[in-house]
């Protein structure tokens, strides 16, 4: 028997809580196909479970998670179908303030405690990145010449509704590249840098030198989950998610390519609730829908982009690799 752990990471507003809530609600409603509740181990106290799914049940996005609101829920689950059919596991989830990662990057003199050290030794990681709530790594202006598309907000394929979402506190929208910071502007850590630094610390904790790979019999999987994908415009929505990562988070993509095996990294694009719950029309549609509104996209081993409504896909991949997400 072996023990395995999964750590979920993401800065403020990256969509972790929404995924947890939607995944839990999907399990209740039978919208998740790869895992189901293990009824034989149904908990006596389901308060925590009901709390995390309560937001999406009411058609709401979870609010910003303050530190004092942290709680742990346990989901007794069972693998359904495939080679791992009937394997059981308990998914323990706790929500947290995503500002912690940014604070860790900036302050450094505190925060890297035993809990983080333990977390760094997890077998797998899921990194949540919300495309319109990341702090871009500002680039300098490019010469006016043809070339590859520029990163950041010059991208015409991005959502053109800046007022569509209300950012949680202390999260900046991605500022257009041509804007200069003013003295009164808040300074945020570029998401890519914070995640790269965190991964470097995690690897250091595991005694991995740069470009040193983990033992082949103990792959270190890192799943990138690009969230709120419903709000990105058509060309990117249909494109392979890894193309988006390469274009908008190049340093993270290069770091992963240099320090992990190809089969240890997977990029998923996900919409946990299928649309904007702050849009009343969509919210009504979401609440009335019988079928799942969520979806997840990724590039399969055959090279084609695959889409499913099953929100457990990133979780199953993190646990079992490509075996866990055999193409539909």
């Amino acid at each position: 028997m072996s023990n395995r752990t999964l750590t979920v990471l993401g800065v403020t507003g990256s969509g972790k809580s929404t995924w947890i809530g939607a995944l839990t609600d999907g399990l209740y409603r039978g919208h998740v196909s790869r895992v189901v509740f293990d009824d034989a181990r149904w908990p006596e106290d389901t308060t925590g479970i009901n709390r995390v799914r309560s937001y999406v049940q009411r058609g709401l996005f979870p609010g910003h998670t303050a530190e004092e609101m942290r709680s742990v829920i346990e989901l007794p689950l069972l693998i359904q179908g495939g080679r791992r059919s009937d394997e059981t596991f308990t998914l323990k989830l706790s929500d947290y303030d995503g500002e912690l990662i940014e604070k860790l990057f900036r302050e450094r003199t505190r925060g890297w405690d035993n809990a983080w050290e333990r977390r760094a030794r997890a077998d797998s990681f899921l990194l949540f990145v919300r495309h319109d709530f990341t702090q871009a790594l500002r680039s300098l202006a490019r010469p006016a010449e043809p070339g590859p598309p520029r990163p950041d907000d010059a991208d015409p394929m991005m959502s053109s509704s800046p007022d569509e979402f209300t950012p949680p506190p202390n999260v900046s929208r991605r500022a257009p590249e041509t804007e200069r910071l003013k003295p009164e502007d808040p300074r945020y850590v570029p998401t890519s840098l914070a995640l790269v630094e965190l991964l470097q610390w995690i690897r250091r904790e595991r005694n991995l030198m740069p470009i040193e790979m983990s033992p082949p019999d103990r792959p270190l999987r890192v799943g990138i989950v690009l969230t709120a994908w419903d709000s990105i415009k058509a060309p990117w929505r249909e494109a392979p998610p890894e193309d988006y990562l390469a274009q908008h988070h190049a340093i993270l993509k290069d770091f992963l390519a240099c320090n992990f095996r190809e089969n240890e990294v997977r990029v998923f694009a996900m919409s946990a609730v299928g649309g904007n719950l702050e849009d009343k029309t969509y919210r009504d549609r979401y609440l009335e829908a019988e079928s799942p509104m969520s979806w997840v996209r990724w590039t399969g081993t055959h090279g084609r982009v695959v889409q499913t409504e099953d929100l457990s896909v990133p979780l199953c991949w993190a646990l079992y690799g490509d075996d866990g997400i055999a193409d539909d």
Binding site: S139, P151, E197, I211
Partner: protein
């Protein structure tokens, strides 16, 4: 904790997903992310000697802007034909702060008190076969211009300690500001840059190896004619191919003196901001040259023989803790 059962067993497995620690103790992160100090290269030296690139220049010639621009180009995937990819950095916080200041329009001045400090990039070579199983640590000096000027005028003065690393460098970049060379009063800047070049020459005279010395003309965007011509390079340095229409007679003479000394010299022109032109091209040349350097004298910072690359990383780490 997740316990995966053997195939014949069906026992509960716990998958623990934790997103945040409880209120933290005062525990520092594994490293500061700030500039690396000269002499604190031990962990980097475990794999192979890091490559030292000395970036020298008078105050406000664009040294820090160049480094910020380089980082932003790499971090945003603007590699061009650079056959290396970003693999690691111990100074991400420092790079972040530089990038932030560059986008504020003013990278500021590197303070004299900072002494010898370096920015670190770990790069992995890329070939037609893909990423090579090598990691090249490159350290770029980020030294106050005042210290460099003092050192150029007095090798034994107060700045000597801060610039002692130059002798160990794998490449030396000497920056000259074309905006200051262009006007009628450009001779002063010309003379001071030449002083730096000649000081480099004297330091390298009895050095165990001869790094390349590259003259880098910065801020070409501020001189319309140079902006029109775009970034260019002359490698190896060729006087007849010298195209810079500037008052750079002393610089030219100093470059020729280095050449007669047997030093490989070259010249580049570029701009770092607001538009990066020629930055990656310079870095491509520098990396190609320093990555081939295999014979180096033992560095002057203290590394015990037992901490050579033969020692495992884990054991060495325990030694230091």
């Amino acid at each position: 904790m997740l316990r995966l059962p053997l195939r014949a067993e069906k026992t509960p497995v716990d998958l623990e997903v934790e997103l945040d620690p409880p209120p933290a103790d005062d525990t520092a992160a594994p490293w500061s992310g700030a500039h690396v100090r000269y002499g604190n290269f031990e962990e980097l030296a475990l794999r192979a000697m890091p490559k030292l690139v000395a970036v020298l220049g008078l105050q406000d010639t664009g040294k820090t802007s160049l480094l910020a621009s380089l980082f932003l180009e790499l971090a945003n995937g603007q590699y061009g034909d650079l056959p290396y990819r970003f693999a690691s950095s111990r100074t991400l916080l420092a790079f972040d702060q530089l990038a932030l200041r560059a986008n504020e329009g003013d990278v500021g001045h590197t303070p004299v008190e900072s002494g010898s400090q370096f920015l670190h990039l770990g790069m992995r070579p890329l070939s037609e076969r893909g990423l090579e199983p090598r990691h090249v640590d490159v350290l770029f000096s980020d030294i106050a211009g005042e210290l460099t000027e003092q050192w150029s005028q007095n090798a034994a003065g107060e700045a000597a300690e801060a610039l002692a690393f130059v002798r160990q460098s794998n490449a030396v970049l000497v920056l000259a500001d074309v905006e200051r060379l262009a006007p009628a009063g450009g001779r002063e800047h010309d003379g001071k840059v030449a002083d730096i070049l000649r000081r480099v020459g004297t330091v390298l005279r009895d050095a165990p190896h001869r790094p390349d010395v590259l003259l880098v003309f910065t801020k070409i965007d501020r001189v319309p004619q140079l902006l029109e011509e775009g970034p260019c390079s002359t490698v190896p340095f060729n006087e007849t191919a010298w195209k810079m229409p500037l008052r750079a007679g002393s610089i030219r003479a100093a470059m020729l003196a280095l050449k007669r000394q047997g030093v490989e010299v070259g010249a580049f022109s570029l701009s770092s901001r607001p538009v990066a032109r020629g930055v990656v091209g310079l870095f491509r040349h520098v990396l190609a040259r320093v990555d081939r350097c295999t014979s180096l004298a033992r560095p002057t910072w203290s590394i015990e023989p037992e901490t050579s690359s033969l020692m495992t990383y884990t054991a060495a780490r325990k030694e230091w803790e």
